[in-house]
C-alpha cells in the first residue's frame, strides 16, 4: 500500500481580482474654494426704472477629513504554513482636499480562530499590475512614504501575513487595515484651525462623518485539502491460481480520496511500475474509462524509461469530486 498526501493546494488568489464596488467618493466642492454671491434688485420709482446690487457675501470651503478603507476580497484562501499571504485593500480619500494618510495593520483581532503573523514588512503599496504580493510592490514605511491622496484619490494596499503551521482546515484568522488622516482624526465636527489643505493655501480642516479614520477586515480562511490513496492488488497466475509466480498478472487498483474544504488544483497521480514486473499495455484506466498509453490528449500515459511509471492527471479535486480510481496491470518477470 502506498499513500500520497497533498496539502493545501489552495487557490489563494481566486478572488483576488474581484474588485469590490466602491461607492465612496469625495464630496464636491474642493477645500479652499471661495464662494461669492451678490443679489441684484430691480425696481421703479415713479416712471424711473432703477437697479441696485447688494454687498458681496463670501464663504470659503474648509477641508473635510474623510477616508474609506475597503477590503477588496472579504476572504483569502490559505493553507497552514503559507508565507506572505496578501490581503488587498483600497484606501480612498473621501474628503475634499489633498490629505496624507497613515496606515496601520493589526492581525490580533478578536473573534477568529487564529492570529495571522505579520510578515517582516507587513504593508505594501500594490505598485504593479500583478495580483498579490510581487517584487514590484513598494514597502510602506510609516511616516516615510505615507500616501498623499487628492480628493477622490485612492491607493491599493496589500497587508501581508504568514499563516501559522498549527492551523487546521476551516480556521479563520482576521487581519485589519486602518487609515487615518495625518491632519487629525476624532469626533465628526472636530476642527483643526488652519491645518487643512485648500486649493489656495491653508484652510480649516474639519473631521467628517468617517471620523477621518476607517478600517476594514479580511479573513484568511484555511482551506486545506488532503488527498489519500489506497492501493490494492489482485494476483492471478497462469495456472488459474493466485500465486505470484513469474508470468502471473497483478491488477492494481488505487482509490484516491479527497478530504478538506479546499480545492486540489492540478492533482496528478504517478505510480512507478514495481521492480521485476512489466506493465501490461492497454490496462491503464481512470474510473473504468480506458486511457491510452501514449502521451496524448487523454489524462493518462505510460512511460517506459526508468523508472517506468504510469501517470494520470486528475485535474482539480474537491470533496464533491468523489473518490478517483486508477487501475493498471503488470506481469511478474
Amino acid at each position: 500500500m502506498q499513500a500520497w498526501r497533498i496539502l493545501g493546494v489552495a487557490s489563494a488568489f481566486a478572488l483576488a481580482l474581484g474588485l469590490g464596488s466602491n461607492k465612496a467618493h469625495a464630496l464636491g466642492a474642493p477645500a479652499g474654494t471661495v464662494i461669492n454671491n451678490t443679489a441684484e434688485v430691480s425696481y421703479s420709482v415713479g416712471t424711473v426704472n432703477a437697479t441696485a446690487s447688494s454687498n458681496l457675501v463670501t464663504v470659503t470651503v474648509a477641508e473635510i477629513l474623510d477616508v474609506t478603507v475597503t477590503a477588496q476580497t472579504p476572504s483569502v484562501s490559505v493553507s497552514a504554513g503559507d508565507t506572505q499571504q496578501a490581503a488587498r485593500y483600497r484606501v480612498t480619500n473621501t474628503g475634499n482636499g489633498s490629505e496624507t494618510f497613515r496606515l496601520v495593520m493589526n492581525s490580533t483581532i478578536a473573534g477568529d480562530q487564529f492570529d495571522p503573523v505579520p510578515s517582516a514588512t507587513s504593508i505594501y503599496f500594490d505598485s504593479d499590475a500583478t495580483p498579490g504580493l510581487s517584487a514590484g510592490d513598494t514597502p510602506y514605511v510609516v511616516g516615510s512614504n505615507d500616501p498623499v491622496l487628492n480628493a477622490d484619490g485612492f491607493v491599493i494596499v496589500l497587508v501581508v501575513n504568514d499563516i501559522p503551521a498549527a492551523v487546521v482546515d476551516t480556521n479563520i484568522g482576521i487581519t485589519r487595515l486602518t487609515a487615518d488622516a495625518r491632519t487629525g482624526a476624532g469626533a465628526p465636527g472636530t476642527t483643526f484651525a488652519g491645518a487643512g489643505n485648500g486649493i489656495n493655501g491653508a484652510v480649516d480642516a474639519v473631521v467628517g462623518t468617517s471620523g477621518a479614520d476607517s478600517e476594514a477586515d479580511t479573513s484568511y480562511l484555511v482551506t486545506g485539502v488532503s488527498l489519500t490513496a489506497n492501493k490494492t492488488q489482485t494476483v492471478v497466475d497462469q495456472f488459474g491460481g493466485v500465486q505470484p509466480v513469474p508470468g502471473a498478472r497483478i491488477d492494481y487498483s488505487v482509490v484516491i480520496n479527497v478530504a478538506g474544504s479546499g480545492n486540489a488544483t492540478n492533482a496528478v497521480f504517478t505510480d512507478n511500475i514495481p521492480a521485476n514486473t512489466t506493465y501490461v499495455p492497454g490496462t491503464l484506466r481512470l474510473n473504468t474509462a480506458l486511457l491510452t498509453d501514449g502521451v496524448d490528449t487523454d489524462a493518462g500515459d505510460f512511460t517506459a524509461t526508468t523508472p517506468a511509471h504510469v501517470r494520470v492527471a486528475l485535474g482539480s479535486l474537491t470533496t464533491a469530486s468523489g473518490p478517483q480510481t486508477v487501475t493498471f496491470a503488470v506481469t511478474i518477470n
Binding site: L27, G28, A29, T33, I35, N36, N37, T38, A39, E40, V41, S42, Y43, S44, V45, G46, V48, A50, T51, A52, S53, S54, N55, L56, V57, T58, V59, T60, V61, A62, E63, I64, N96, V203, D204, V206, G208
Partner: protein, 165 residues
C-alpha cells in the same frame, strides 16, 4: 476760462451723485439699499434649558453644511419703490434646498439659466427633446417679485437655503 468751467462742471456732477440718495428728494437710483448675508443655523440652549436655533454669520463651510442666504431691500427714499424684484443666484458648488425659499409679500420664481423665470410648478427644462418639470436641485436663481410697493422706510426680504456640495 474754458478750462475752469470744465472743472467746475465736473465738481457739480460729482457732488450731485453723492447727495442724491441721502437727500432722496426726487425719485431715481439709490432708493433701495440692498444687503445680503449668508448664515447658518446654530442650536443654542436658553436659560430655561430649551433648545432654540438662531442664525449666525458664517464664513467657512464644509461640504454637506446648509447655509441660508438672505437679501433685504430697504427703501431709504421718501417716495414708494414699486415693482421691487430681488434676484439672488444659487452660487456654484451649492444646491438649492427644495421649498426653502421664503419672501413675505412676494411671488417667488426660479430659473435654471438666469434668463427664464417661472413659479416652481411651471418651470421646465428640456430633456431628451421634451420638456419636464425642473427639479429644485436644478435651480440656479431665485427671484422674489414683491406684490406691493415698498413705502418710505419700508423693506422686504427674500431668503433661501442651500447645501454645499
Amino acid at each position: 476760462m474754458i478750462k475752469g468751467l470744465k472743472i467746475f462742471g465736473l465738481a457739480v456732477i460729482f457732488a450731485g451723485s453723492m447727495i442724491a440718495p441721502a437727500a432722496a428728494q426726487k425719485p431715481g437710483q439709490g432708493c433701495l439699499v440692498v444687503k445680503t448675508v449668508v448664515e447658518t443655523e446654530q442650536v443654542v440652549v436658553n436659560d430655561k434649558g430649551e433648545k432654540t436655533t438662531k442664525l449666525v454669520p458664517v464664513a467657512k463651510v464644509v461640504p454637506g453644511v446648509q447655509v441660508i442666504y438672505t437679501t433685504t431691500a430697504s427703501n431709504i427714499c421718501k417716495v414708494p419703490s414699486d415693482k421691487v424684484s430681488i434676484n439672488l443666484p444659487v452660487p456654484e458648488h451649492m444646491t438649492y434646498v427644495a421649498d426653502s425659499a421664503v419672501g413675505p409679500g412676494s411671488d417667488i420664481e426660479f430659473s435654471v439659466d438666469g434668463k427664464t423665470f417661472a413659479a416652481a410648478d411651471q418651470l421646465t427644462v428640456m430633456e431628451n427633446g421634451a420638456p419636464r418639470k425642473a427639479r429644485a436641485d436644478e435651480y440656479r436663481h431665485v427671484r422674489w417679485n414683491f406684490k406691493t410697493s415698498f413705502a418710505p422706510e419700508g423693506q422686504g426680504f427674500g431668503r433661501f437655503r442651500a447645501v454645499l456640495n
